[in-house]
Symmetry: C2
Subunit: 225 residues, 2 copies
């Protein structure tokens, strides 16, 4: 198809993609809104590194312009159950009001900073992240106030501070429950089997069924039935 001279260029967006249901839904939404998506995943020594193979397939299925898996040499890795074999992944259920042992020090600051670097280099102004109300009840780096503060920092610490072409952190799932996210994902054509959520995969990539992430996923699935 020949592009008309009057067509505006597509809006570029860097989208964080873990391979889980939330980021897949976030990405599908960005595509639905017509964004040209540059998907960004991270190999940071996570137990559930298998999520990256899901991320690669999702990026292809959902029509991303590019997908990059950045290796991150995470300095705080020893302090989280997701990246240290010395800390057990909790299996007893979510305990409200506490920060789970699966919290990775400053992970989203790091991931968003990578996204910001890429966005600035390619001229994208939007960075999409699938953070939501369940995440931010336990993880400080998913809270709306953090995301706003990151956006502010991004606009002061890049060329945007000089040119005025501002970055925006887009978190469209922020207020949605897991059930609502699954429903939205389904409406956008996401098959949950394309996604992987478990924090502590068993041999052959089988989900453990008992970590916080599995519990949230399974409860939402049961609610939907």
């Amino acid at each position: 198809m020949k592009m008309k001279m009057t067509d505006p260029p597509p809006v570029k967006a860097v989208v964080l993609l873990s391979g889980g249901a939330d980021s897949a839904t976030c990405l599908a939404l960005a595509r639905k809104k017509g964004r040209e998506v540059y998907a960004l995943s991270f190999d940071y020594g996570q137990r559930h590194r298998i999520e990256l193979s899901y991320a690669r397939k999702l990026a292809r299925r959902l029509g991303c312009r590019a997908h990059r898996v950045a290796r991150v040499d995470l300095p705080g890795s020893a302090a989280s159950a997701l990246t240290s074999r010395k800390i057990r992944v909790p299996k007893g259920g979510v305990r409200p009001g506490t920060i789970p042992a699966t919290y990775v020090p400053a992970r989203n600051a790091l991931f968003l900073a990578h996204a910001l670097s890429w966005a600035e280099a390619i001229g994208a102004r939007e960075i999409w992240i699938g953070a939501n109300v369940i995440d931010y009840s336990g993880y400080p780096d998913c809270r709306p106030a953090f995301l706003r503060a990151f956006e502010r920092m991004a606009n002061l610490g890049t060329r945007a501070g000089v040119t005025g072409r501002r970055f925006q952190i887009v978190a469209p799932l922020l207020k949605l429950s897991k059930k609502e996210i699954f429903r939205l994902g389904k409406a956008l054509g996401i098959d949950l089997r394309w996604t992987f959520s478990c924090y502590d995969p068993q041999p052959h990539g089988k989900s453990c069924g008992r970590c916080d992430s599995c519990r949230l996923r399974n409860r939402a699935l049961a609610d939907l039935e």
Copy 2:
């Protein structure tokens, strides 16, 4: 020497260390103030990767508790003369009011996010950076407003947001000229030959003498004589 029971534990600090004169002086100052220093350097595909061998020696000479060289898979690398061979390092002198081609997209946001992750994992509350007035006249990610915004973001996006044990970005060279930094470094026992500043090293690690960084260094040296 036996430690008295009443001695407070040393204050831990993560210090960004490039191997240049500024970060070396910043580190020496942290040591002088009694900090237990965790020095952090980055291998991000920079042309002047030779700076890392200077950083390693500096970390030993200045008595750091630990030194870590984190590999960074910089998504914005194609957009900077420091990380892309397709962009020439400017040699014509600093042009006031412009962002130099050596600006690396969101580099300090990324570096500080790494430092934050480490600091949180080891229980350090201070992150030291050798940014200064010359840097922030050209690089947006050295401006005081950016550093303050990063600190704010850090305190919202980590356990600090819950525990109240706040992080502090310490930039003691912010208001100093290059000449003043060299003078301070000398007073703190830094030999400039231990440091490396050139953005575009020639074969055998010889400084080019004409990039912005060499020019600033050489001008300050001439002023000091």
